[in-house]
């Protein structure tokens, strides 16, 4: 489905933002200023960004461990994200440093992420159930990797969501690998979307490099969900450009494969789309400049906060600690 030029420009902006943020984080890591585990989302950005373009602020996102683009698209403030990378008390997790994995912002429906993979299936179904019980029309969306879809929670949540027609969308980022294990060695079906048949659940397969394709599929699913017609499983085919984590030797795949993935960079495609819609390179360059400045400002804000220390480690265990 076509996005408006404004929507496409916004998508371009968020993609730029998340790529810059990840790059900056890599520099922090190299310089020893941040010692966090990064699961880079490079190559997969169009999925979270396309999806969030179809959502309202109050729709609820349970994102994946590869989620920088996902949460930035949903609204997480860049300085809070950077703050987490740097373990500052101004970060989204108050410097517990969970960084990309655990930033939350209730204002933007950023609900969090489960470190034990597959946890998001039951949580996202539950959030949809909660909205349904409260009688509001929020939808809940969960982004996850194809490897995580082999957890039993997938089955329990899919069954209940289909049965109860919950307002839920599952968006699989199928990048073909679970750490080192190829998709075809972890399941015998080609398409994760096929799993929906077991629950009479509608499904779709889209090109995960194409932000408009993702947007269109999610928009349709959102309409279905909001009108009480139940959940949808969408599979976005994509590529992981970098290793599973920074430092991954990637002994399990060839250089050629990685090079081929780079040619499918969603950034290339979104720029082509904008060009085709008559948007000049100068406008894109202006956005790039703005995002670079935004990043520097965010870094400065993050740095202006103190580092988290011993006082923080007991904070937030219980509601009495609510800040």
């Amino acid at each position: 489905m076509e996005m408006t030029v404004d929507q496409l420009l916004h998508a371009f902006r968020i993609m730029e933002r998340s790529i810059l943020a990840e790059q900056r984080l890599l520099r922090f890591i190299e310089a020893g200023d941040s010692r966090v585990l990064l699961h880079s989302g490079r190559g997969q950005e169009a999925i979270g960004i396309g999806a969030c373009a179809a959502l309202r602020d109050d729709d609820m996102l349970f994102y994946s461990h590869r989620g920088v683009a996902q949460i930035l698209a949903k609204g997480i403030l860049l300085d809070e994200l950077i703050g987490d990378f740097l373990g500052r008390i101004g970060g989204a997790t108050g410097g517990l440093g969970a960084g990309i994995v655990h930033a939350v912002d209730p204002k933007f429906g950023v609900m969090g992420s489960s470190g034990t993979l597959g946890g998001g299936f039951v949580l996202s179904a539950g959030a949809a159930l909660g909205a349904a019980k409260l009688g509001d029309d929020r939808v809940s969306i969960h982004l996850f990797g194809e490897g995580s879809a082999n957890r039993g929670t997938f089955h329990e949540a899919a069954n209940a969501a289909a049965l109860w027609k919950l307002p839920m969308i599952w968006l699989c980022e199928n990048n073909g690998y679970s750490v080192s294990v190829p998709h075809r060695e972890a399941t015998c079906i080609e398409d994760v979307a096929q799993r929906a048949q077991a629950y009479d659940m509608p499904s779709a397969i889209v090109d995960g490099q194409d932000v408009e394709a993702v947007y269109g599929a999610v928009k349709e699913a959102v309409e279905r969900a909001r009108s009480g017609c139940g959940p949808t499983l969408i599979e976005a085919k994509t590529f992981r450009i970098r290793g599973h984590y920074e430092g991954d030797p990637q002994n399990y795949r060839s250089k050629d494969e990685i090079a081929a993935a780079k040619l499918k960079d969603p950034q290339i495609l979104v720029q082509e789309r904008l060009a085709a819609r008559g948007v000049g390179e100068d406008r894109l360059e202006a956005i790039r400049q703005e995002e670079r400045a935004h990043l520097e400002a965010a870094v400065a804000t993050a740095m202006s906060h103190a580092k988290a220390g011993e006082a923080q480690i007991y904070q937030g265990l219980l509601a009495g600690d609510m800040s």
Binding site: A103, G115, V122, L317, M322
Partner: protein, 333 residues
Amino acid sequence: MSERIISYRAALNEALVEEMERDERVFLMGQDVAKFGGVFAVSKGLQDKFGPKRVFDTPISETLIVGGGVGAALAGARPVVELQYADFALVAMDEILNKAAKWRYMHGNRQSVPLVIRAAEGMFGGLGPEHSQSFGQYFWNAFGLKTLMPSTPADAKSMLKAAIRDDDPVLFLENKALYNRRGPVPDEVEVDPIGKASTIRNGTDLTIIAWSSMVAVALKAAEALAEEGISAEVIDPRGVRPLDTATIFNSVDRIGRVLVTHEGPVTGGLAGELIAQIVETRFDKLLAPPARVAGADTYVPQNLELERFIVPHLEHILAAARKLAATGKSSTQ
């Protein structure tokens, strides 16, 4: 204030009714909780009263029951979910310990998880190794979770109401052997904040700390001991976290002799940690070694006749208490 004599089961049912009437965000889900009224009949009549939107059955999907409860709580609802047997907590342990208990902490303290997980624990009726366990001990270090274990109808009612009103996730362990137990429940229960131990009987010769089904046994023991001239104080911690150490330590400091009892196995059971906390901090107040009276160190056979060899009895408490009262230094008082 007037009160009635009702069962633990009825008390729980009343708590659910009152809280669902009070707060529209409260709903109840679990296996067979709706038309059937729950396999232990705790939710009888609730679906008729509140309709299928607020009281409904789930598939046999425990990760969905607990994890879905966490998600619904995050979305702003106040779910009460039932695990048909507490044993099935093991099926959803990741959802309980890694999700419900940690979500707030690991996401920067910006959300609440007002979820109540009700679960029927303990040995009752020959249900065997997978349906008879007592589980409190697994939750000592679930720092973001409150774990409650009511021992009387009155506590069952007030504590379940408090749990539903609490903004933290609560694991609410009901004891199967107590469902039919009757006791006085005030017409209007006080809903105290969670976390006070209850001193059920005052004494001067030893302190008996008893959880859940063992509270009534401890009280009986205290009565029998009184006849023998031994004065036992009985304290019910009413849960695992938060633990009211102030009340417990105060008693130990005054009396110096302590016996801890619960239904689950001795080794790795609830008593061990409590005794460690006591000796670590008030060794010098102890006049005799702390004693444990708890379940046998084995699994619970399905043969009903063998259950009696597993669970601790009045006689075990009496024997341990007599020994405790007779050993060690004489009181410093």
